[in-house]
């Protein structure tokens, strides 16, 4: 009997732990943001600056990935879903079933830079050639005016938002060659390229550093200006999805992200402002 009692106390304790967690979301003056690690730095810093001005509102920001963020928005576990890719039809359908109406707010733009080892003599590349490299049609740098060396093809993982955009803008439905190194983060790509002389890869513009060299794509340099003007072709919008057009404190927050101060944050973390 006593055994049962203690066990039930334990159960109640666990129950309180779990349900207690849920009640956090119900509080009216808090905003929960979840999603893409690409958008995370903007959301994080915007939230900090926002809470300095609006002390009565608390904003909690989490990463996890675009898919995780959108799933959280659909389940009602998040007010804002950060995403580095547009929402998919399947996700919209799921959302509608649960009475959620995902609304896209484009808060910044992200250019994808094509990068090589700093010692590589090649300076620019066409999107067509890039596609040929990633599908295995071109395998040697000499075909691109470089040294007679095999190309080490480096890509991001299959489910990363960056890969998805690259797939759409460059591969146009073709498969990446099986032999490509699929790495888990922008930083991993950048580091691997810096120690692998004949490699090629792609990373977010915000992750460019001196350890790698960015190639011109179709003759256009990857810079903030060219992305903003729409000249640079490998660029993508970054989203904060809300349930319907933002209202109330969520609107206050989204408006803050669009304000000059919010857009300055986007620039500071390496992205291109939209306003």
């Amino acid at each position: 009997m006593k055994k049962f009692k203690i066990f039930s106390v334990f159960c109640v304790f666990m129950l309180v732990m779990f349900t207690g967690g849920n009640s956090l979301y119900a509080a009216s003056n808090s905003i929960t943001i979840t999603g893409s690690t690409t958008v995370l730095p903007i959301a994080q810093r915007a939230a900090e600056a926002f809470m300095d001005i609006n002390e009565e509102i608390s904003v909690s920001v989490r990463g996890g990935g675009s898919g995780v963020g959108i799933a959280a928005l659909i389940d009602g576990r998040a007010d804002i879903a950060d995403a580095s890719r547009p929402i998919k039809t399947k996700e919209i359908k799921l959302a509608r079933e649960k009475g959620i109406d995902p609304y896209a707010n484009v808060v910044a733009r992200d250019g994808i830079a094509v990068v090589v080892h700093p010692d590589n003599p090649v300076d620019s590349i066409g999107i067509e050639d890039l596609k040929k490299i990633y599908t295995g049609e071109i395998e040697n740098w000499k075909d691109l005016g470089g040294p007679n060396k095999a190309i080490v093809v480096i890509s991001r993982d299959y489910s990363s938002g960056t890969f998805e955009v690259f797939k759409e803008l460059v591969l146009e439905g073709a498969k990446v060659i099986d032999g490509a190194l699929m790495l888990a983060s922008n930083k991993a790509v950048s580091t691997t390229i810096s120690i692998t002389p004949n490699s090629i890869g792609y990373i977010g513009l915000g992750y460019l550093s001196k350890e790698v060299k960015a190639l011109k794509v179709d003759g256009v340099e990857a810079t903030e200006e060219t992305v903003k003007e729409g000249k640079y072709k490998l660029a993508r919008p970054l989203f904060m999805y809300t349930n319907g057009e933002p209202t109330g404190i969520i609107k206050t927050f989204i408006d803050f992200v669009f304000s000059p101060q919010g857009q300055l944050i986007a620039r500071e973390v390496g992205y291109v402002p939209v306003k």
């Binding site: 690690t37 990935g65 959108i70 060396k149 489910s159 032999g179 699929m182 692998t196 004949n198």
Partner: protein
Amino acid sequence: MKDKLFKYLTEAAALCSVVFLFGIIFSIFKEGYPVFAEVGFFKFLFGKSWHPTHYPPEFGILPLVLSSILVTGGALVISVPLGVGSAIYISELAHPKGKEILKPIVELLAGVPSVIYGLFGMAFLGPFLSRVFGLPVGLNALNASIILGLMVVPIISSISEDAINSVPNHLREASYALGANKWETIIRVILPAAKSGVISSIVLGFGRAIGETMVVLMVAGGATAMPRSIFKPVRPMTSAIAAEMGETVMGSSHYHALFGIAIVLFVITFISNLLTEWVMRKKGKNGC
């Protein structure tokens, strides 16, 4: 009263792990089952192409399974001689003072966080291998095997050493009395007597290596091609799950496929654990 309370508290703690274990088993099977229904058991397990986000997607995990086996096999090739060798040296041959220094050092190797091993493999071993073997890229199966091998050495070494230590002294003395030298005694008498402990240490090491995630994510290269050579980049099961789960759409086929990989991995490690248990039990029966 106090005694009873203590008993119930510890009982609850023990119960917890059972609940968690079954919870984990239940949830991975629940989330992973749909992929077997959708893709088909054989097509999933023996399909040669893994393109989960391509249209139409391909969910063949054979290259991932073979990558795991290749990398783990390579790790054992390195860690078994090093681990068993150091166990023999520490327990049979080393001077007591040397033993006092060596033993904690080998065990210290077990305490190094795997991400540090990964960093080492990425920043030092990778460029080194590519220079020595003239490879275009140093992140490959060989790199992962070496690093995993190093990580498994302390497991094999310390468990083997316990087994060798527990070989009764009269066996050694009998062997010497028959005129055998040290080498013959170790190879013919001590190792056979400690066999079950040594084997279970190797199986445990295997389980550790095949389940290790961070290191292979960082140094194996991640290419999904069928592993044709130890010098090529590969993608073991654990790194595919870790790298792809974060950004995938919840409830999609890709999501279920990743859980499907988790089931395969779970079954493999479960079998290796059972094997260890079985070998240990057998040892109990034989009485040595």
